[in-house]
C-alpha cells in the first residue's frame, strides 16, 4: 500500500516535468536564408538582472537588428564560471556555431580551452587578458564615464562623504574607484570616497547591507561597482542620492539616481560579428572608450543643475577628442607618494594592473 502510494506520488510529480521538457523553447531566431552566421552568447546571470547581463543582451539585440537574417543567435544564461562553461562552449562548437561571446571574466581559461580544442570557432571573451589565434578579448574604458559621474557626485554631495559599494579589489574596480574619486575631486577638493568591498558581483542582500553601512557612516551619496539596483534603492529610501552602473539605473529607481556610467555593447557586437561573417576577423584585444561608444554616461537626472551638466559635457568632449585622459599627472596615491608627474599620462598597461588607491579614497586594497 505504502509503496504504491509512493509510486503514484512520484508519477504525479514527473508529469509536469515531462510537459515542460516538451515545451522547452530555443531562443534561436528562425533562419530563412541558407547558412546564417551562427553566434552564441554565454551569460553569467539572467538578462533580467537590469545590470551587467542585461546590457550584453541589449547589445546582442542591437546586433541582431543591424544584421537581420544573416545571423542566427542563441543564448544561455546563468552559466557558472567553472568547467561547465567549457562544456557548453564546446557544445556550441560541435553544433556548428561560428562565434561564441563569453561575457564574464571567470570564463577566461575555459574559453581558451574551447578555442584551442575548436580551431574553427571564434571565441570572444569579455574583460580577460588571454588570447589565441581564434580568441580575442574585449572590454571598455569604464573609468572614463566613471570620472564624469564623479564630477556629478562631487558637485552634489553636501556632507562631502561619498560611499562606494565595490565588488572585488581587482584592477578593473580599483581603476573605477580612482577615476570616480578624481572626477569628484576635480570639482570638490574636500570630498572623501569611502569604499566597502562586498566580494561579490551580484548579491542584492549584501549590496544593500553594504549600502546601509555606508549611509550610516555619513555618506549622502552612493556610487557602486555592483550589478544590482540595491544600492540606489537603499539610498533612495534614506533620502540620499546615488550613481548607478551597468545600465541607466534611473529608469528603474527614479530621479535620485543622478546618472549611470553604462555599457553599450551594440556597436562592438555588430562590428565583430560582421567581421566574422566577412572573414576579416583577426585576434585582437579591444578596449573601447567613450570615443568608440563602448561605454557612455546615461542621461542625467533632473536633479543635476545645468552648470554641472555643462561641465560634464565639456570634459566628455575633451576625452572623446583625445585631448586628455583621466589618469594624467600630477597623481598621488593614498599615502601621498607621487605616481605620475605633472602632465605624465598613464600607460594602458599600468591602468590594467592598477593596484593602489588615489589620495582621497578611504579604504584598503586587500
Amino acid at each position: 500500500m505504502k509503496r504504491s502510494l509512493a509510486l503514484v506520488c512520484l508519477l504525479a510529480l514527473l508529469v509536469p516535468f515531462a510537459l515542460f521538457a516538451g515545451g522547452a523553447q530555443e531562443s534561436a531566431t528562425e533562419a530563412p536564408v541558407e547558412e546564417p552566421y551562427k553566434v552564441a552568447f554565454v551569460y553569467i546571470g539572467p538578462p533580467g538582472d537590469l545590470g551587467w547581463t542585461y546590457m550584453h543582451d541589449v547589445g546582442k539585440k542591437e546586433m541582431e537588428a543591424a544584421l537581420g537574417s544573416a545571423v542566427e543567435t542563441t543564448l544561455i544564461e546563468s552559466v557558472e564560471e567553472g568547467p561547465d562553461s567549457a562544456r557548453i562552449m564546446g557544445q556550441y562548437a560541435r553544433n556548428g556555431y561560428d562565434m561564441v561571446f563569453a561575457t564574464s571574466f571567470g570564463y577566461m581559461d575555459y574559453a581558451l580551452e574551447t578555442a584551442m580544442d575548436n580551431p574553427d570557432l571564434l571565441v570572444e571573451h569579455c574583460s580577460g587578458y588571454k588570447t589565441a589565434d581564434n580568441m580575442s578579448t574585449y572590454f571598455g574604458r569604464m573609468y572614463q564615464p566613471r570620472y564624469l559621474s564623479g564630477i556629478v557626485a562631487g558637485s552634489m554631495t553636501e556632507t562631502n562623504i561619498i560611499g562606494y559599494v565595490a565588488a572585488f579589489p581587482i584592477p578593473e574596480v580599483i581603476r573605477g574607484i580612482n577615476a570616480f574619486t578624481l572626477g569628484a575631486q576635480s570639482v570638490n577638493p574636500d570630498v572623501e570616497v569611502k569604499v566597502v568591498w562586498t566580494n561579490t558581483w551580484y548579491d542584492p542582500v549584501k549590496e544593500r547591507e553594504a549600502a546601509i553601512a555606508l549611509l550610516d557612516s555619513g555618506a549622502d551619496l552612493l556610487a557602486q561597482h555592483q550589478d544590482t539596483t540595491e544600492p540606489p534603492k537603499a539610498a533612495k529610501e534614506r533620502g540620499a542620492l546615488s550613481i548607478g552602473y551597468d545600465a541607466d539605473m534611473g529608469q528603474f529607481v527614479g530621479e535620485s539616481v543622478l546618472c549611470s556610467p553604462m555599457w553599450n555593447w551594440g556597436p562592438y557586437y555588430t562590428a565583430t560579428v560582421k567581421a566574422g561573417m566577412e572573414g576579416t576577423w583577426e585576434s585582437h584585444q579591444f578596449w573601447g572608450g567613450l570615443s568608440e561608444d563602448t561605454v557612455k554616461l546615461s542621461a542625467m537626472s533632473a536633479l543635476v543643475p545645468a552648470d554641472v551638466q555643462a561641465k560634464v559635457t565639456e570634459v566628455q568632449a575633451s576625452i572623446v577628442a583625445g585631448d586628455w585622459d583621466v589618469f594624467t599627472g600630477p597623481l598621488y596615491d593614498q599615502s601621498g607618494a607621487m605616481i605620475l608627474a605633472d602632465g605624465e599620462v598613464m600607460s594602458d598597461g599600468d591602468m590594467l594592473s592598477m593596484g593602489f588607491f588615489v589620495e582621497g579614497v578611504v579604504g584598503t586594497v586587500n
Binding site: 533580467g48 566580494n199 542584492p204 534603492k233
Partner: protein
C-alpha cells in the same frame, strides 16, 4: 566607534537577525517534536517567492505574508509526508527539500527578477517608532524603532516559549520528540504532533523567506536566502533548543552578517574575505563545540531524526 556607530550597527543587526530568528524558531519547533528538517533553506525560498508573487498579485501586505507562510507549510508538508507517512530518511529528505525549494524559487522567479515589491507593502513596513518603549535611550532606538514584522517576532518568541514550556500541547509535542514510544503509550498522537510542529515550523520558515523578499531587500533577486537557512539550523543547536537563547543567537549572527562592511571603514589590517566568512566560520565553531559536548548535556530531543514505527515497539 562612538555610541552612535553602535546604535546604528545594533539597529541594523536586529533587522538582519529577524529572518534568522523566524527560521530558527521554526526549525526549533520542528525539532522539538523529533523531526530533523534540514529543508529550512528550501522552505525559506518557497516562502520568499510565493510571498513576493502574492504581494505582486494582490498588493496586500497581509496576503503576501499569509502566502509566504502557506508556502513554508507546503514545503514542510512535503517533508512530513515523505518522512512521517512514508518513513523515509529525514536527512536526505531535508536536503532534497532544500534543493527543491531553491529550484522552485528560481523557476517561478526568473521572469520577475529585479521587480520591486508593491509600494503599499514597502510603505506598510517602514520603520515605526513605538510610543514609550521607543523613547528609551539607546535600547529604544535599537529594538523599538523597527518595522512591524520585527515587533511580531518579539511576540512570536514569547508565544513559542509559552507554547513549548507552559501549554499542554507544547509539552505533548516535546514528549513526542523525546520519547515517541512513551508518548504513544500515553495516547498522544505521535504522527499528529509531528505534522503539527512541522506545519508551525514551516510557516515560520516561510515568513522568514517572506521577510527577506518583501521587507529586507524588497525586490526579487536570485539567490536571496544565501545560506541563512543553514545558519538557522546551526542556531537551533547553539540555542540548546531554547527560543529565548535562539533570539540572542540570531541577533549575534545577524550582527556578524553585517559587521564586515562596517569594520572595513576602520582600515583594519584584516582581509575582507575573512570578515565575510565570519558567520559561516562561527557556525562551524558552534557545531564543533556542540559535537564535543557529551550526549546527555547536548539538550537535543532524544528522538530527533528517527522516524517512528509503531509496529516496532
Amino acid at each position: 566607534m562612538d555610541l552612535n556607530w553602535f546604535v546604528c550597527f545594533l539597529g541594523a543587526a536586529v533587522v538582519a537577525g529577524t529572518p534568522l530568528v523566524l527560521a530558527t524558531l521554526g526549525e526549533l519547533i520542528t525539532e522539538k517534536s523529533g523531526s530533523l528538517n534540514l529543508g529550512v533553506e528550501g522552505m525559506m525560498y518557497m516562502g520568499a517567492i510565493i510571498g513576493f508573487t502574492t504581494g505582486l498579485q494582490t498588493g496586500s501586505p497581509f496576503f503576501a505574508f499569509i502566502g509566504a507562510a502557506l508556502a513554508g507549510i507546503l514545503g514542510a508538508m512535503i517533508f512530513g509526508f515523505v518522512t512521517i507517512t512514508l518513513r523515509a530518511n529525514q536527512i536526505v529528505t531535508g536536503l532534497t527539500l532544500t534543493m527543491f525549494g531553491t529550484g522552485f524559487a528560481g523557476f517561478i522567479g526568473t521572469p520577475i527578477i529585479g521587480e520591486r515589491a508593491p509600494q503599499k507593502i514597502i510603505d506598510t513596513f517602514v520603520k515605526v517608532k513605538l510610543p514609550l518603549l521607543g523613547d528609551i535611550p539607546v535600547i529604544g532606538e535599537i529594538f523599538f524603532n523597527q518595522d512591524y514584522l520585527v515587533y511580531l517576532t518579539y511576540i512570536l518568541i514569547i508565544l513559542v516559549g509559552f507554547y513549548l514550556y507552559k501549554s499542554r500541547y507544547g509539552l505533548n509535542g516535546t514528549i513526542v520528540g523525546e520519547n515517541p514510544k512513551a508518548a504513544d503509550s500515553l495516547g498522544i498522537s505521535v504522527i499528529g504532533y509531528r505534522y503539527l510542529h512541522l506545519a508551525m515550523g514551516g510557516a515560520l520558515c516561510g515568513l522568514a523567506g517572506g521577510y527577506l523578499s518583501l521587507i529586507y531587500v524588497p525586490s526579487w533577486q536570485d539567490s536571496m536566502i544565501a545560506g541563512r537557512g543553514w545558519i538557522a539550523v546551526a542556531l537551533v543547536i547553539f540555542s540548546k533548543w531554547n527560543p529565548y537563547r535562539a533570539y540572542i543567537g540570531a541577533l549575534f549572527f545577524g550582527g556578524l552578517n553585517i559587521v564586515g562592511f562596517r569594520l572595513q571603514q576602520f582600515d583594519l589590517p584584516v582581509s575582507t574575505y575573512l570578515l565575510d566568512a565570519l558567520p559561516y566560520l562561527m557556525t562551524v565553531i558552534v557545531l564543533v563545540f556542540d559535537s564535543m559536548r557529551s550526549k546527555s548535556r547536548s539538550h537535543a530531543p532524544a528522538g530527533l531524526g528517527t522516524p517512528y514505527f509503531r509496529e516496532e515497539r
